[in-house]
Every structure is written in C-alpha cells, then in structure tokens.
C-alpha cells in the first residue's frame, strides 16, 4: 500500500515537471492556463537534375534570342547595350515540404566555368512572374522582379569554384506559401564592364557542375 502510493506520487511529480518545463513565464495566481509543445523534424533536401531545374541567360545585344540549351550562362554588366543576365529556377516540390515547414538555411550553388580576372559582385533577385526556358532579353524586360536583391555575392577569380549563394529568406517564404516559384535573376551589380562571369548550367555534361539548391529544412 505504502509503495503503491509512493509510486503514484512520484509519477505525478515527474509528469508535472516535464509538461511545464517551459511554462515558467506564466504568472502565478492565474486561473486560466494551457500549455503545449511542438517538436520539429529536421532534414536536408538537395534540388538537382534537369527535371527540377530550369536555367538560361539572355543577352541585351541579341534581344530576341534565347539560350536555354547551352551548357554555360554568362553574366555581364554593361551600359553599352550588351548586358547579360542569368535566370535559374528550382522546383521545390521534390522536397515535399508542408506549408507549416520552413527553411533553416537554403543555399544556391553555382559552379563558375570561367571566372573574371577581377572579382565581380553579382546579385540574386527573386523573379515574381513566370518565365519559360524560351525567355529572351525582350521578354525579360516585362517580368516582375523583387524590389531588392535577396543577396549579393562575389564571383572570386577562380574558375571551377563553387559559389554558395544564400537564399534562405526566399525559400522559407516559398515553402510557407502556395505561390509559385519563379527562381532568381543573376545580374552583375558593377559599373559598365566588358568582364564576364560564366557559370555552368543544368545542361553541363558533368552533374557535379550543374546548379543545385541545398535546403536544410524543418517541418
């Protein structure tokens, strides 16, 4: 009898203690109280492959041409009519993340095919309207873009280097929303320059050279 009673009391002690471990901010004396907890599942999803990625680049000097099926994409700043922009989009559906989830970190990885002699600063800006891999410079002028770049990053000067571009805030928002994902526009933020940065695209023969999106998520 004594032992059974002690076990019940001890179990109550442990139970109450564990349930209210983080309820210490509630005021003593309140009469209306509820507590709960939600444990998260963490994981990593890497978006790869031509079925999940679309990319291309457009040239101001050839405004009606699309370059979707080339193995490289060029980015260049210029005020003399030959700017070049890259577009890249990742299909997040393969990660099967619920809208209650989110990105802890999301990193777009781009492999530099040919680096500039002097490092350039590039910007990744979210694209807010749909585009196809038949996109041309002229059509790109009609797209809607985010009001500011998500991030800027340096190209470095090393050909073959993998650049890690943080896009966490955009991917987190995409996971939580049901709005479509139109990827990013990559531009050179610098002043007029003939210097180009060339990236490998999803058409590159070697899989490791293709763009990737690495998402460390919670759900």
């Amino acid at each position: 009898m004594k032992i059974r009673l002690l076990v019940i009391v001890a179990a109550a002690t442990v139970g109450i203690g564990s349930v209210t471990a983080f309820a210490a901010t509630m005021g003593v004396g309140s009469w209306h109280i509820g507590t709960g907890a939600d444990t998260l599942t963490k994981g990593t999803c890497t978006v790869i492959g031509s079925t999940n990625i679309a990319d291309e680049y457009v040239l101001e000097s050839s405004p009606g041409t699309n370059n979707a099926n080339t193995t490289t994409a060029i980015v260049r700043a210029s005020t003399s009519g030959n700017r070049e922009w890259m577009f890249v989009r990742f299909d997040l559906s393969s990660c099967a993340l619920p809208t209650t989830g989110g990105a802890d970190t999301a990193t777009m990885k781009l492999v530099v095919k040919t680096a500039p002699g002097t490092a350039r600063t590039l910007a990744a800006t979210p694209v807010l309207t749909t585009w196809a891999e038949t996109l041309t410079w002229t059509q790109a002028q009609a797209l809607t873009y985010g009001s500011a770049a998500t991030t800027t990053f340096s190209t470095g000067t090393t050909s073959g280097a993998t650049l890690s571009v943080p896009v966490t805030i955009d991917v987190d928002a995409l996971i939580k929303s049901t709005t479509a994902n139109y990827g990013w526009q990559i531009t050179d933020t610098g002043a007029s320059s003939a210097t180009t940065t060339t990236f490998n695209t999803v058409e590159a023969a070697t899989a490791a050279l293709r763009p990737q999106l690495v998402i460390n998520y919670e759900k």
């Binding site: 009391v9 983080f22 309820a23 005021g27 109280i33 963490k42 998500t150 943080p166 987190d172």
Partner: protein, 134 residues
C-alpha cells in the same frame, strides 16, 4: 504512517517546484499540509497548436506565428519558447491573442525582448508554448 505522510509532503513539494506556476496557482502550501484546488489547465485548448517561424537570409528567427488558436483563447497572453538541444531555452517571446470571431492567431516579432535577434532557426528543435489569462 508518519513516515508516509512526511514522504508525501516532500514529493508534492517537489512537484510544485518542478511544475512552476501552473500548479502553484491552485495549491495551498502550509507548514505541514498541501491541498489542491480546481485549476482549469487546458481551458483554451492550446495543446495541439503548430507554431511556425520566419527567418532572415542568414537563417535567424525573425518572427513566430501561430494560427488556428481557438476562439476561447481570445485576449489571452501566449508565451512561446524556442527550445534547442538538451532542452535548452534559446529565447522566449510573448504576444496577445487578438479579438477574433472564429479562430485566432498570434504573431510575435523577434526583438531584444522577444526571443532575441540572433537565434538560429537551425538550432530550434521544438516550440514550447503556454497561454494564460483570467
């Protein structure tokens, strides 16, 4: 029997200590006796809520939101704790459930006083939350 009574007092005192305010709200602790009242501990049904958080581009928590809060929680204060490894609190924020007609929501923006501004989302392993009101 005397031993049993003494043991019970010690164990219940331990329970009060661990339980914090939730149990202390309705327990009367005397020098030799403990008695329990009628606490309404799940009155607004927050046990099964699913908070979500937003991040900045560096992966730091910028806001915690809870939707689907029952109408019975309207006007109550919700406290959310970001819990990391080893059950460590990474930060706590509070918000008031606004008046609503069907289900309610709470949004707590990270600041110096709510969660802090440098909590990495990657280190948050769970949310612990509580609602309190009169």
């Amino acid at each position: 029997m005397k031993f049993l009574s003494r043991t019970l007092v010690i164990c219940l005192a331990g329970a009060v200590t661990l339980a914090g305010s939730a149990a202390a709200a309705t327990l009367v602790v005397g020098s030799k006796t403990l008695s329990a009242g009628n606490a309404t501990t799940t009155a607004c049904g927050v046990l099964s809520l699913t908070p979500t958080r937003n991040v900045d581009n560096a992966g730091r928590v910028t806001r915690v939101g809870i939707t689907g809060v029952p109408l019975t929680c309207s006007g109550e204060t919700v406290s959310v704790t970001l819990v990391g490894a080893s059950n460590v609190s990474l930060g706590t924020g509070t918000g008031v459930v606004g008046s609503c007609t069907t289900t309610c929501s709470v949004s707590i923006t990270a600041s110096v006083t709510n969660f802090g501004t440098a909590v990495s989302a990657a280190s948050v392993l769970s949310f612990s939350f509580a609602a309190v009101g009169a």
